[in-house]
């Protein structure tokens, strides 16, 4: 059976080439589909893990507020306070990254043409952009809670200014006199969803992260923040936290409280849609694969009716005959794996790019996902599915002939 299958594959080259192409396309699309589904699952999981139980507090009256008002909320609940200041700063010793702007502004003063966004956080690692892996450190290390005077810069900004770890960045926070000189401790990559205001600080590449303690150098004793997060470990403690805040004499009506921050809910929904679309696509490809392969194989099996008749006449069982047909396709599918793996990766890039653009997520950095493809497990699963398609298609194609009596087949061939 094996020798005959090998002989058929190598000697009927045109048919082998046609089957090779069909199997390559099916495997490549299935592999790409599964890879994209797994990638979007990973992304959803990363995004979800960036969500915390707690409250995010913003002032309703001004951009910034003094977080000292919330010092009364003690840490009996194990609550952790994350102070965050987001502001615009002028880059004094370098040039910002420029790009295509969605908003054009002609009224910008000169110092705002070289502006960066300064994110000062009491624990940079807890920033959702890092936790969701939208931003990933590629060099150096993150800023720990105890460190001060350190910054993380984007790789594009570092490249433009030829900065490396240990170099210094000079910044002047808008509205403040004092200039900061900070040490580069890490370089990150990635792209977040951007909001355009017409300033260079809109771009992900012009974001600089620093520790909150550094900002205290400027603000003095005031705990000036744009937002304050009070985090607890679970939903029960969150209820207790809210109750405690109500008891304390904080003017809560002056603040906006957002529970269980989920700034990526839109992104997660979009990713869910992508997953749904890809799942539908995979099912369609599997269905179409079975149909196309079966149609080709019906012609192919009809052509081999003579051979089937001979094999039946010499006592070969129908199961062995079908087994040989399946084995032939499995043999063709072995080299198919190499080409399909390459094509699959290309498809992942194309499909992710096209779908994410359609879903409005094209400014999200997915390069690492788009080029990685699925792992070996995904490829093995895709190949397993291809084998299943082959088996079903061969059975479907052979059914008409194999349900006939050997004499009927032999009568047809004579």
């Amino acid at each position: 059976m094996i020798k005959n299958a090998v002989a058929y594959v190598f000697r009927k080259r045109t048919r082998t080439a046609l089957i090779f192409l069909i199997l390559t396309l099916i495997l490549a699309v299935i592999y790409a589909g599964f890879s994209i589904m797994k990638t979007s699952e990973k992304m959803t999981s990363a995004i979800n893990s960036a969500n915390d139980f707690g409250v995010k507090i913003r002032s309703l009256k001004s951009e910034t507020f003094n977080a000292e008002s919330f010092d009364l909320i003690d840490s009996k609940l194990g609550a952790e306070k994350i102070y965050q200041y987001e502001g615009v700063a002028e880059l004094k010793n370098g040039k910002v990254v420029t790009g295509e702007q969605m908003v054009m502004r002609e009224d910008l003063p000169g110092y705002l043409e070289n502006a960066v966004t300064l994110q000062a956080i009491s624990d940079v690692k807890k920033d959702p952009l890092f936790r969701s892996e939208v931003f990933k450190l590629i060099e150096g290390k993150n800023i720990s809670r105890e460190e001060t005077g350190k910054v993380l810069v984007h790789e594009a900004l570092a490249k433009k200014n030829q900065w490396k770890i240990g170099d210094k960045v000079s910044l002047k926070v808008l509205g403040e006199e004092k200039e900061l000189e900070l040490l580069i401790q890490g370089i990150f990559t990635g792209k977040k969803q951007e909001k355009y205001t017409g300033m260079s600080s809109d771009f992900s590449e012009n974001m600089i992260f620093t520790d909150y303690a550094t900002m205290v150098q400027i603000f003095g004793k005031k705990k000036l923040v744009t937002s304050l997060k009070i985090l607890v470990s679970d939903s029960e403690k969150l209820a207790a936290l809210k109750a405690e805040m109500n008891k304390k004499s904080v003017q809560l009506e002056d603040f906006e409280m957002v529970e269980k921050e989920n700034q990526f809910s839109g992104m997660v929904e979009s990713l869910d849609m992508v997953k749904q679309m890809i799942f539908t696509m995979i099912m369609a490809v599997i269905g179409a694969g079975i149909v196309v392969l079966s149609l080709v194989l019906i012609l192919w099996v009809r052509e081999r009716m003579y051979e089937i008749g001979i094999l039946l006449a010499i006592g070969r069982s129908k199961i062995k005959i079908v087994g040989q047909f399946i084995l032939e396709l499995v043999l063709v599918s072995l080299p198919v794996m190499i080409l399909a793996a390459i094509l699959g990766r290309i498809f992942v890039g194309w499909i992710l790019g096209a779908v994410l653009q359609k879903e409005g997520l094209d400014n999200l950095d997915l390069s690492s996902f788009a080029t990685s493809g699925g792992g070996l497990d995904i490829f093995a699963m895709s190949y397993g599915l291809l084998i299943l398609i082959i088996v079903l298609a061969v059975i479907a194609a052979s059914w008409m002939i194999l349900t006939k009596k050997p004499k009927e087949i032999l009568a047809k061939i004579s």
Partner: protein
């Protein structure tokens, strides 16, 4: 002792009420060369199909060494008890002559093909690139390498010239005598019938 026995076999084609074979009884023995003759449409090839287990009789039974041929499945019967030689050779088109004869016996060598007049080059060539006579020799060789005790041949010389047909008949006769096989040939050929040990005529739905 008979190797193959037909007991009161009747057969009708699907959709036909009238039987083409009616109460056929016959015994076949090893070491003999049988010729079954009869007019076209008399049911000679149908009878051969029934003996080969390619089809089932409407009634009656066919026994191999006193056991029903379908006892272990018809595939088993075809694989182990009989070997078939057809008028149109029935060789697999993507295999060489040697690979074709190995379909029935993995251990077969090219010796048998050489004995039947094929040279080394022809043995390793695609079987479709051989002449009709050479292809029938390959089909005969496939029957020769089979361990089966019964050879069923349907017009084996029908497509061959006189000389080649003569050679093939000689080979089949030798198989019966020297290797103690039961050779049953369905034929229109007078020459084949003359060479047979037993001539049976299918007439009026009966084998006489």
């Amino acid at each position: 002792m008979s190797v193959l026995k037909i007991k009161n076999v009747s057969y009708a084609y699907v959709g036909n009420r009238e039987n083409i074979l009616e109460g056929v009884d016959q015994k076949f023995e090893r070491g003999k060369f049988y010729a079954i003759i009869g007019k076209s449409g008399a049911g000679k090839s149908t009878l051969l199909s029934l003996l080969a287990g390619l089809d089932e009789p409407k009634s009656g039974e066919i026994l191999f060494e006193d056991e029903k041929i379908g006892k272990y499945g018809y595939s088993y019967h075809r694989k182990n008890h009989i070997t078939l030689v057809f008028q149109n050779y029935n060789l697999i088109d993507y295999l060489t002559p040697l690979e074709n004869i190995r379909l029935v016996n993995q251990e077969a060598t090219d010796e048998i093909l050489v004995k039947l007049g094929l040279d080394k080059d022809q043995i390793n060539r695609n079987v479709m690139k051989l002449s009709g006579g050479q292809q029938q020799r390959v089909a005969i060789a496939r029957a020769l390498v089979s361990e089966a005790p019964i050879i069923l041949a349907d017009e084996p010389t029908g497509n061959l010239d006189e000389n080649t047909a003569e050679e093939i008949i000689e080979v089949l006769k030798k198989l019966a005598k020297e290797r103690n096989k039961c050779v049953i040939v369905v034929t229109h050929s007078k020459r084949v019938a003359e060479s047979a040990d037993v001539v049976l005529e299918l007439k009026g739905r009966k084998l006489r």
